[in-house]
Amino acid sequence: MSEVIVVTSGKGGVGKTTTSANVGTGLASLGKKVVLIDTDIGLRNLDVVMGLENRIVYNLVDVVEGNCRIKQALIKDKRYPSLYLMPSAQTRDKSSVNPGQMKKMIAALKEQYDYVILDCPAGIEQGFQNAIAAADRAIVVTTPEVSAIRDADRIIGLLEANDFNKIDLVVNRVRNDLIKRGDMMSINDVVDILSIPLLGFVPDDENVVIATNQGEPLVGSNTYAGIAYMNITKRVTGLEVPLMEFPKTVTFWTRVSEIFKKKQEV
Protein backbone atom coordinates (compact mmCIF):
# COMPACT_ATOMS: atom_id res chain seq x y z
CA MET A 1 0.00 0.00 0.00
CA SER A 2 1.57 3.22 -1.07
CA GLU A 3 0.87 6.48 0.73
CA VAL A 4 0.74 10.02 -0.61
CA ILE A 5 1.73 12.49 2.11
CA VAL A 6 1.61 16.26 1.78
CA VAL A 7 3.90 18.33 4.01
CA THR A 8 2.26 21.67 4.62
CA SER A 9 2.16 24.57 7.09
CA GLY A 10 0.39 27.64 5.79
CA LYS A 11 3.12 29.97 6.96
CA GLY A 12 6.41 30.08 5.11
CA GLY A 13 9.80 29.39 6.62
CA VAL A 14 8.73 26.98 9.35
CA GLY A 15 10.51 23.95 7.86
CA LYS A 16 8.27 22.26 5.28
CA THR A 17 11.10 21.65 2.82
CA THR A 18 13.53 20.52 5.52
CA THR A 19 10.91 18.16 6.90
CA SER A 20 10.06 16.81 3.43
CA ALA A 21 13.74 16.23 2.65
CA ASN A 22 14.47 14.52 5.95
CA VAL A 23 11.35 12.36 6.14
CA GLY A 24 11.78 11.34 2.50
CA THR A 25 15.45 10.51 2.98
CA GLY A 26 14.64 8.77 6.26
CA LEU A 27 12.03 6.56 4.62
CA ALA A 28 14.52 5.65 1.87
CA SER A 29 17.11 4.78 4.52
CA LEU A 30 14.56 2.34 5.95
CA GLY A 31 14.46 0.68 2.55
CA LYS A 32 11.24 2.24 1.28
CA LYS A 33 10.80 3.36 -2.31
CA VAL A 34 10.24 7.09 -2.09
CA VAL A 35 9.59 9.93 -4.49
CA LEU A 36 9.80 13.52 -3.24
CA ILE A 37 7.86 16.07 -5.25
CA ASP A 38 8.54 19.79 -4.99
CA THR A 39 5.21 21.47 -5.71
CA ASP A 40 6.44 25.00 -5.06
CA ILE A 41 6.39 26.17 -8.67
CA GLY A 42 8.40 29.36 -9.14
CA LEU A 43 10.16 29.06 -5.77
CA ARG A 44 11.70 25.62 -5.81
CA ASN A 45 14.05 24.71 -3.00
CA LEU A 46 13.77 21.02 -2.27
CA ASP A 47 16.46 20.39 -4.90
CA VAL A 48 19.03 22.53 -3.06
CA VAL A 49 18.15 21.12 0.36
CA MET A 50 18.68 17.64 -1.13
CA GLY A 51 21.87 18.76 -2.88
CA LEU A 52 20.54 17.68 -6.27
CA GLU A 53 20.23 21.11 -7.93
CA ASN A 54 22.90 20.39 -10.56
CA ARG A 55 21.12 17.38 -11.97
CA ILE A 56 17.84 18.96 -13.01
CA VAL A 57 16.90 18.50 -16.65
CA TYR A 58 13.10 18.27 -16.69
CA ASN A 59 10.63 19.33 -14.02
CA LEU A 60 7.08 18.85 -12.79
CA VAL A 61 5.58 21.30 -15.30
CA ASP A 62 7.36 19.49 -18.16
CA VAL A 63 5.73 16.24 -17.02
CA VAL A 64 2.28 17.80 -16.72
CA GLU A 65 2.56 19.47 -20.11
CA GLY A 66 3.78 16.29 -21.74
CA ASN A 67 7.25 17.58 -22.68
CA CYS A 68 8.80 14.51 -21.09
CA ARG A 69 7.91 11.23 -19.47
CA ILE A 70 7.65 11.03 -15.67
CA LYS A 71 10.81 8.95 -15.48
CA GLN A 72 12.85 11.58 -17.31
CA ALA A 73 12.01 14.23 -14.71
CA LEU A 74 12.93 12.04 -11.74
CA ILE A 75 16.37 12.63 -10.26
CA LYS A 76 17.96 9.69 -8.53
CA ASP A 77 19.34 10.58 -5.11
CA LYS A 78 23.08 10.30 -4.61
CA ARG A 79 22.80 8.57 -1.23
CA TYR A 80 19.89 6.15 -1.46
CA PRO A 81 19.05 4.19 -4.61
CA SER A 82 15.36 3.98 -3.74
CA LEU A 83 14.95 7.76 -3.40
CA TYR A 84 13.92 10.06 -6.24
CA LEU A 85 13.18 13.75 -6.53
CA MET A 86 10.84 15.44 -8.94
CA PRO A 87 11.91 19.09 -9.02
CA SER A 88 9.56 21.97 -9.53
CA ALA A 89 9.80 24.55 -12.33
CA GLN A 90 11.57 27.77 -11.43
CA THR A 91 10.45 30.05 -14.27
CA ARG A 92 6.73 29.29 -14.18
CA ASP A 93 3.95 30.01 -11.71
CA LYS A 94 1.40 28.05 -9.70
CA SER A 95 -1.28 28.32 -12.40
CA SER A 96 0.83 26.14 -14.73
CA VAL A 97 -0.60 23.06 -13.01
CA ASN A 98 -4.11 22.18 -11.84
CA PRO A 99 -5.32 19.67 -9.22
CA GLY A 100 -6.58 17.25 -11.89
CA GLN A 101 -3.16 17.05 -13.52
CA MET A 102 -1.51 16.46 -10.13
CA LYS A 103 -3.93 13.62 -9.38
CA LYS A 104 -3.18 11.98 -12.71
CA MET A 105 0.59 12.23 -12.30
CA ILE A 106 0.57 10.99 -8.71
CA ALA A 107 -1.72 8.09 -9.57
CA ALA A 108 0.99 6.92 -11.98
CA LEU A 109 3.77 7.40 -9.40
CA LYS A 110 1.80 5.63 -6.68
CA GLU A 111 2.11 2.35 -8.53
CA GLN A 112 5.87 2.31 -8.32
CA TYR A 113 6.64 3.89 -4.97
CA ASP A 114 5.84 3.14 -1.34
CA TYR A 115 5.72 6.82 -0.42
CA VAL A 116 5.01 9.93 -2.45
CA ILE A 117 5.97 12.99 -0.38
CA LEU A 118 4.70 16.37 -1.57
CA ASP A 119 6.49 19.50 -0.42
CA CYS A 120 3.71 22.09 -0.36
CA PRO A 121 4.24 25.81 -0.98
CA ALA A 122 3.32 28.36 1.70
CA GLY A 123 -0.11 29.93 1.46
CA ILE A 124 -3.59 28.56 0.83
CA GLU A 125 -3.97 29.43 -2.86
CA GLN A 126 -3.62 27.34 -5.98
CA GLY A 127 -0.20 25.92 -5.07
CA PHE A 128 -1.70 24.52 -1.86
CA GLN A 129 -4.76 23.19 -3.69
CA ASN A 130 -2.51 21.44 -6.24
CA ALA A 131 -0.37 19.90 -3.53
CA ILE A 132 -3.24 18.51 -1.45
CA ALA A 133 -5.35 17.31 -4.39
CA ALA A 134 -3.83 13.87 -4.65
CA ALA A 135 -2.67 13.37 -1.06
CA ASP A 136 -4.38 11.07 1.39
CA ARG A 137 -2.41 12.07 4.41
CA ALA A 138 -0.91 15.32 5.71
CA ILE A 139 1.94 16.39 7.94
CA VAL A 140 1.41 19.89 9.30
CA VAL A 141 4.66 21.59 10.28
CA THR A 142 4.60 24.45 12.75
CA THR A 143 6.88 26.23 15.18
CA PRO A 144 5.86 27.24 18.73
CA GLU A 145 5.02 30.77 17.59
CA VAL A 146 1.69 32.55 17.47
CA SER A 147 1.79 33.28 13.74
CA ALA A 148 2.83 29.78 12.67
CA ILE A 149 0.24 28.13 14.92
CA ARG A 150 -2.52 30.38 13.71
CA ASP A 151 -1.72 29.50 10.09
CA ALA A 152 -1.40 25.81 10.95
CA ASP A 153 -4.87 25.91 12.49
CA ARG A 154 -6.26 27.42 9.30
CA ILE A 155 -4.51 24.75 7.21
CA ILE A 156 -5.90 21.99 9.44
CA GLY A 157 -9.38 23.42 8.91
CA LEU A 158 -8.88 23.38 5.14
CA LEU A 159 -7.50 19.84 5.20
CA GLU A 160 -10.47 18.66 7.26
CA ALA A 161 -12.82 20.35 4.80
CA ASN A 162 -11.04 18.40 2.05
CA ASP A 163 -11.78 15.12 3.87
CA PHE A 164 -8.29 14.34 5.09
CA ASN A 165 -8.66 11.84 7.87
CA LYS A 166 -5.01 11.55 8.78
CA ILE A 167 -3.44 14.84 9.77
CA ASP A 168 -0.36 14.77 11.99
CA LEU A 169 1.67 17.51 13.59
CA VAL A 170 5.40 18.23 13.60
CA VAL A 171 6.55 20.99 15.93
CA ASN A 172 9.79 22.39 14.61
CA ARG A 173 12.48 24.60 16.16
CA VAL A 174 11.63 23.81 19.74
CA ARG A 175 13.85 25.47 22.32
CA ASN A 176 13.72 23.85 25.70
CA ASP A 177 15.60 26.69 27.39
CA LEU A 178 12.86 29.12 26.38
CA ILE A 179 10.11 26.68 27.37
CA LYS A 180 11.66 26.21 30.82
CA ARG A 181 11.84 29.96 31.24
CA GLY A 182 8.19 30.23 30.26
CA ASP A 183 8.99 32.23 27.15
CA MET A 184 7.93 29.60 24.61
CA MET A 185 4.81 27.52 24.34
CA SER A 186 5.50 23.91 25.24
CA ILE A 187 4.85 21.06 22.83
CA ASN A 188 1.84 20.11 24.93
CA ASP A 189 0.51 23.65 24.60
CA VAL A 190 0.81 23.49 20.81
CA VAL A 191 -0.81 20.05 20.60
CA ASP A 192 -3.53 21.21 22.97
CA ILE A 193 -4.33 24.22 20.80
CA LEU A 194 -4.25 22.46 17.44
CA SER A 195 -5.75 19.18 18.72
CA ILE A 196 -4.26 16.85 16.12
CA PRO A 197 -1.94 13.89 16.84
CA LEU A 198 1.72 14.72 17.39
CA LEU A 199 4.10 12.99 15.00
CA GLY A 200 7.08 14.50 16.74
CA PHE A 201 9.10 17.61 17.46
CA VAL A 202 12.45 18.82 16.22
CA PRO A 203 14.72 20.79 18.55
CA ASP A 204 16.16 24.03 17.23
CA ASP A 205 19.52 22.70 16.09
CA GLU A 206 22.27 24.54 14.25
CA ASN A 207 23.10 21.28 12.50
CA VAL A 208 20.01 21.84 10.35
CA VAL A 209 21.60 25.01 8.99
CA ILE A 210 24.89 23.19 8.41
CA ALA A 211 23.14 20.29 6.67
CA THR A 212 21.21 22.67 4.43
CA ASN A 213 24.43 24.51 3.56
CA GLN A 214 25.90 21.22 2.44
CA GLY A 215 22.81 19.88 0.74
CA GLU A 216 22.79 16.78 2.91
CA PRO A 217 19.64 15.84 4.87
CA LEU A 218 20.70 15.09 8.45
CA VAL A 219 18.12 12.44 9.25
CA GLY A 220 19.70 9.52 11.04
CA SER A 221 22.88 11.46 11.88
CA ASN A 222 23.96 11.68 15.48
CA THR A 223 22.57 15.16 16.00
CA TYR A 224 19.45 16.13 17.91
CA ALA A 225 17.58 17.13 14.77
CA GLY A 226 18.88 14.03 12.99
CA ILE A 227 17.55 11.75 15.72
CA ALA A 228 14.29 13.69 15.91
CA TYR A 229 13.72 13.35 12.17
CA MET A 230 14.52 9.63 12.27
CA ASN A 231 11.94 9.17 15.05
CA ILE A 232 9.40 11.11 13.02
CA THR A 233 10.17 8.97 9.95
CA LYS A 234 9.63 5.78 11.94
CA ARG A 235 6.33 7.08 13.27
CA VAL A 236 5.26 7.88 9.70
CA THR A 237 5.61 4.17 8.91
CA GLY A 238 3.44 3.35 11.92
CA LEU A 239 6.16 2.34 14.36
CA GLU A 240 5.78 3.49 17.93
CA VAL A 241 8.80 5.46 19.04
CA PRO A 242 8.85 7.33 22.36
CA LEU A 243 9.41 11.11 22.21
CA MET A 244 13.09 11.96 22.41
CA GLU A 245 14.70 13.63 25.39
CA PHE A 246 15.50 17.27 25.05
CA PRO A 247 19.12 18.12 24.29
CA LYS A 248 21.01 17.63 27.52
CA THR A 249 24.30 19.04 26.33
CA VAL A 250 22.92 22.53 26.57
CA THR A 251 22.04 22.17 30.23
CA PHE A 252 25.29 20.26 30.88
CA TRP A 253 27.48 23.05 29.47
CA THR A 254 25.33 25.62 31.14
CA ARG A 255 26.04 23.86 34.41
CA VAL A 256 29.77 23.67 33.71
CA SER A 257 29.90 27.36 32.90
CA GLU A 258 27.89 28.08 36.04
CA ILE A 259 30.44 26.18 38.12
CA PHE A 260 33.25 28.17 36.54
CA LYS A 261 31.43 31.40 37.19
CA LYS A 262 30.93 30.48 40.83
CA LYS A 263 34.63 29.62 41.21
CA GLN A 264 35.61 32.94 39.74
CA GLU A 265 33.32 34.70 42.17
CA VAL A 266 34.93 32.85 45.08
Partner: protein
Protein backbone atom coordinates in the same frame (compact mmCIF):
# COMPACT_ATOMS: atom_id res chain seq x y z
CA UNK B 1 -11.93 32.78 33.21
CA UNK B 2 -9.17 34.72 34.80
CA UNK B 3 -7.64 33.52 37.99
CA UNK B 4 -7.75 36.15 40.71
CA UNK B 5 -4.07 35.60 41.45
CA UNK B 6 -3.05 36.20 37.85
CA UNK B 7 -3.72 39.87 38.47
CA UNK B 8 -0.81 40.00 40.88
CA UNK B 9 1.56 37.82 38.89
CA UNK B 10 3.11 38.95 35.65
CA UNK B 11 2.45 36.36 32.99
CA UNK B 12 5.29 34.72 31.10
CA UNK B 13 5.28 35.40 27.38
CA UNK B 14 4.69 31.75 26.51
CA UNK B 15 1.50 31.78 28.52
CA UNK B 16 0.47 35.09 26.99
CA UNK B 17 0.98 33.57 23.54
CA UNK B 18 -1.18 30.58 24.41
CA UNK B 19 -3.99 32.71 25.81
CA UNK B 20 -3.93 35.05 22.82
CA UNK B 21 -4.01 32.12 20.40
CA UNK B 22 -6.94 30.50 22.14
CA UNK B 23 -9.05 33.60 21.73
CA UNK B 24 -7.79 34.27 18.22
CA UNK B 25 -8.47 30.76 16.97
CA UNK B 26 -12.00 30.74 18.30
CA UNK B 27 -12.91 33.63 16.03
CA UNK B 28 -10.78 32.22 13.16
CA UNK B 29 -12.42 28.82 13.35
CA UNK B 30 -16.02 29.87 13.37
CA UNK B 31 -15.33 32.72 11.00
CA UNK B 32 -16.85 34.98 13.60
CA UNK B 33 -15.10 38.21 14.44
CA UNK B 34 -14.72 39.49 18.00
CA UNK B 35 -17.03 42.39 17.06
CA UNK B 36 -19.83 39.99 16.14
CA UNK B 37 -19.27 38.12 19.40
CA UNK B 38 -19.53 41.43 21.18
CA UNK B 39 -22.86 42.12 19.47
CA UNK B 40 -24.16 38.64 20.32
CA UNK B 41 -23.19 39.32 23.91
CA UNK B 42 -25.05 42.63 23.95
CA UNK B 43 -28.15 41.01 22.44
CA UNK B 44 -28.14 38.13 24.93
CA UNK B 45 -27.75 40.61 27.78
CA UNK B 46 -30.70 42.58 26.51
CA UNK B 47 -32.98 39.53 26.28
CA UNK B 48 -32.04 38.11 29.70
CA UNK B 49 -32.40 41.55 31.26
CA UNK B 50 -36.11 41.43 30.46
CA UNK B 51 -36.53 38.69 33.03
CA UNK B 52 -33.86 39.16 35.66
CA UNK B 53 -31.18 41.56 36.74
CA UNK B 54 -27.79 40.44 35.45
CA UNK B 55 -24.26 41.75 35.73
CA UNK B 56 -23.54 42.85 32.18
CA UNK B 57 -20.05 44.04 33.12
CA UNK B 58 -18.71 40.66 34.15
CA UNK B 59 -20.72 38.40 31.84
CA UNK B 60 -18.64 36.40 29.41
CA UNK B 61 -19.44 34.56 26.22
CA UNK B 62 -17.17 32.38 24.18
CA UNK B 63 -17.26 29.79 21.45
CA UNK B 64 -15.46 26.61 22.33
CA UNK B 65 -14.68 23.70 20.05
CA UNK B 66 -14.90 21.11 22.82
CA UNK B 67 -18.66 20.62 22.53
CA UNK B 68 -20.95 19.09 25.10
CA UNK B 69 -20.60 15.60 26.47
CA UNK B 70 -24.09 14.65 25.40
CA UNK B 71 -23.26 15.35 21.79
CA UNK B 72 -21.46 12.75 19.73
CA UNK B 73 -19.61 15.20 17.53
CA UNK B 74 -16.73 16.15 19.77
CA UNK B 75 -15.73 19.15 17.68
CA UNK B 76 -19.07 20.91 17.39
CA UNK B 77 -18.48 24.55 18.19
CA UNK B 78 -20.54 25.49 21.22
CA UNK B 79 -21.45 28.91 22.52
CA UNK B 80 -20.94 29.27 26.24
CA UNK B 81 -22.38 32.16 28.16
CA UNK B 82 -21.43 32.95 31.72
CA UNK B 83 -23.97 35.41 33.06
CA UNK B 84 -23.86 36.40 36.74
CA UNK B 85 -27.35 37.03 38.09
CA UNK B 86 -27.68 39.94 40.50
CA UNK B 87 -31.37 39.61 41.25
CA UNK B 88 -33.55 36.66 40.31
CA UNK B 89 -36.86 38.43 40.81
CA UNK B 90 -38.59 40.04 37.92
CA UNK B 91 -37.91 43.67 37.67
Amino acid sequence: MKNIFSVFKKKKSGEVAKDRLKILLISDRVNCSPEILERIKADIAEVISKYMKIDVETMEIQISKTGMKSMNASKTPTLYANIPILDLRNK
